[in-house]
Point group: C2
Chain length 194, copies 2
């Protein structure tokens, strides 16, 4: 194998897909999702549009794939939390895991929030299912109305405040601490717990 | 003047504008903002497209005019709040006034939230200025980071939870009580105050 040429194996395709997503994310960040075309992504990668089509049929599919790692992390946190026995421990684990995911992916949240077409493309899908499961775990099985409202406010408040452009310069640890406090207040959790 | 014919006076034009906005709101609610055209609004009103153009040049302008009453009410609440001397009283007045506006206009928030193009059209404008003034009044002059974060979470949490489709059937008073509680917890205000 000559150095510098990618082999036409599954590994090579995987590599193209990874480079494609990294390039798409860079272009999305520079121009916004709406103003980025499949052709622009192909040009930046130095491949044909057909090569992009091989991996993704639409820009929404690319946006979904860019969001996938964050949603997968959130799913892991949800599964860990739901295995805990005490309700308080479940809420605390989900809250801190959710805040971690939001802080880690806040540039992506900011990006998607300013390009609402993407948010719509992601809705009614995986992210929708995850947010329903989060609501259930935060609010508990009693279907207490005030808890359901507080859980909803906590989820949107944490996600959209974490992704807000005006806090983009705040360092991760500081932001994480403040968002945890938002969640604790809304969900009625004490500051120190397991 | 014959009954049933509108006179071509300022009063008549004002009446057409009012009917136009009511019709636009009805069509927006039925079809979504994106799927509603100026032509559809003209047809539903039984006027020409030129007659619609006389009042509004774009659909975004119509959406802005539909949002205007709610924004105006919020501005009044902000002005009342900023005239109060004690910080606690200012926060409490703005919180309860904001919750009232959200509950009163929650169908509109739900409508705009599912048609994100509208949200974008309204951003960087009046609603943006009002939300900055709300943040300042909620967070206080000390620029305390945790207060600024809590204020941001309170504003988006209350607005998007109040406008969330899953709570559309909840009666106004119940929703108002729960949203006030969300704000009180985040802003650290006691349940009973002036």
């Amino acid at each position: 194998m000559t150095a510098g040429t990618a082999p036409a194996t599954a590994g090579g395709q995987e590599d193209t897909r990874t480079r494609l997503l990294a390039t798409a994310l860079r272009l999305f960040t520079e121009h916004g999702v709406e103003a980025t075309s499949l052709q622009m992504i192909a040009d930046a990668l130095g491949v044909t549009k057909a090569a992009v089509y091989y991996h993704f049929k639409t820009k929404d599919e690319i946006a979904g794939a860019v969001a996938e790692p964050g949603l997968r992390e959130l799913e892991v946190v949800l599964e860990e939390a739901s295995r805990l026995r005490r309700r308080g421990a479940r809420v605390d684990h989900l809250l801190s895991g959710f805040v971690d995911v939001v802080v880690r992916h806040r540039a992506l949240i900011a990006l998607f929030a300013r390009d609402p077409g993407v948010t719509r493309a992601l809705a009614n899908s995986w992210s929708e299912v995850l947010s329903i499961r989060m609501m259930e775990l935060f609010a508990g099985p009693e279907e207490d109305e005030s808890r359901v409202i507080a859980a909803h406010a906590a989820i949107v408040g944490i996600a959209l405040t974490g992704g807000a452009p005006q806090f983009a310069e705040m360092d991760d640890d500081t932001l994480r601490g403040h968002l945890l406090e938002v969640g604790r207040r809304l969900l009625g959790r004490p500051r120190r717990s397991a």
